[in-house]
Amino acid sequence: MNFDFDHVQLRDVSRHFGRRRALSRVSLTARAGDIVGLLGPNGAGKSTLIGVLATLVSPSDGDVRYGDRTVADLGGILRQRIGLLAHELLLYPELSPRQNLTFFADLYGLDSRRVVPDAIERAGLTERANDAVSGFSRGMRQRLALERAILHSPRLVLLDEPFTGLDDHAVGIVSERIRQLAAAGAIVFMATHDLDLADGLVTRVALVRGGKLEADAPAEPGIRARYRDLVGR
């Protein structure tokens, strides 16, 4: 069964971990082509929000609709349309890029002989395709991790701090790849602290603080100044 959607809607989503409130009545809609920048201080709830969208964290209240369906309706079929790049890279360091990508391609039921060489080339790792990932620089790993996350052409792309530890060259490559994904119709959520990088890349800004969605608006130049006004620092 194939399933697709053109928007994601969070409806009054709350998530509590014991007595700690990580998300509180967050409502937000994103459509195909959007790059939503999730901004906010440490501990604001950005990663929890990414986890909820990824179906890895269940909301305590509210629900998330992918098109007109929920994760309860779809289960594994929905996960076929979601790609996640987390702060940790979700790669096996002992394995090579080829082995990592082949494993995940097979897991997603893709033709690994077709998709893996293309992904390795896009990551710029053709020369190192059979070396263990543990010997790679952060930038090389991040490029590979991004290709792993989008190997199956997901509709919903979730990026948690995708620029951490990258040099300018790698930042440029990853930014361009994110733009390409959105142009191809992906819904991109990107949690980041790097407001300068978010400026000019994101099409919408969602400011999260204390688990609450404080602002949700189309992106305009000068995100840093607007963020400072809202957060007060």
């Binding site: 269940s58 979601i82 987390a86 940790e88 979700l90 360091p93 039921g109």
Partner: protein, 225 residues
């Protein structure tokens, strides 16, 4: 689909182990050291305490299994690859089965070394009833690994996982260890008591069916935060 995913996870774990040789080497080193220490303590002038061989064999398997379980899931935690596995459009129970098969394979490799070593150091006729011994080892290993894989996966994000795993695992797998020890002791008796060994093998099979069924039911909800 289910079998394909389980075998993919198994193949991936085997590929990592071939590249690093980390878990098998540490597990074997630990288990062999354990058997050697007990051999020095319990064997005097070629005389062995009754049923010691059976006890030592299963203690070594249980300790080596705990070590292997911890290390296998530490690998998935280190780069958060467990999240990538859970995000795959695959039955999560199949991921459990794949990890379980990997642990069983590791323990089987350890047992290939441990059984002859115990037989040699404790002058135990472990190979007198090879089929019954194989059935005992299979039932015990699958039962121990079945419960252990579920708990190790549950605890993968817990900071106290190294402490909690044995605390949760050993009380529940006590029947496995007792069945393994008493079944092996029955095989080592002179003459061997095959009917008692078969009774313990049956108990192990029942334990395996009940706990693996429970694990397959509970793995998905337990792994969702």
């Amino acid at each position: 689909m289910f079998t394909r995913i389980a075998l993919l996870v198994l193949r991936k774990d085997v590929a990592i182990e071939f590249r690093s040789f980390e878990i098998l080497s540490t597990t074997l080193f630990f288990a062999v050291s354990c058997v050697l220490v007990f051999a020095f303590a319990l064997v005097r002038d070629g005389e062995v305490v009754a049923d010691a061989a059976a006890g030592i064999l299963w203690i070594a398997i249980a300790f080596a299994g705990t070590l292997a379980l911890g290390r296998t899931f530490e690998r998935e935690r280190y780069a958060e690859t467990v999240r990538a596995l859970l995000l795959a459009p695959a039955p999560r129970a199949a991921i459990y089965v794949g990890k379980l098969l990997g642990i069983v394979l590791l323990l089987a490799a350890a047992e290939v070394i441990l059984v002859p070593l115990v037989a040699l150091l404790f002058s135990a006729a472990l190979f007198a009833r090879p089929l019954l011994l194989a059935a005992l080892l299979t039932g015990g290993t699958v039962g121990f690994a079945g419960v252990g894989t579920l708990f190790a996966a549950m605890l993968v994000r817990s900071r106290t996982r190294d402490i909690m795993l044995p605390i949760l695992l050993y009380p529940i797998t006590v029947p496995v260890i007792i069945a393994g020890v008493r079944g092996t002791a029955a095989l080592l008796a002179v003459p061997s008591d095959d009917s008692v060994a078969v009774m313990w093998i049956s108990l192990l099979a029942a334990f395996d069916v009940v706990f693996i069924t429970l694990a397959l039911w509970t793995f998905e909800p337990l792994m969702t935060e």
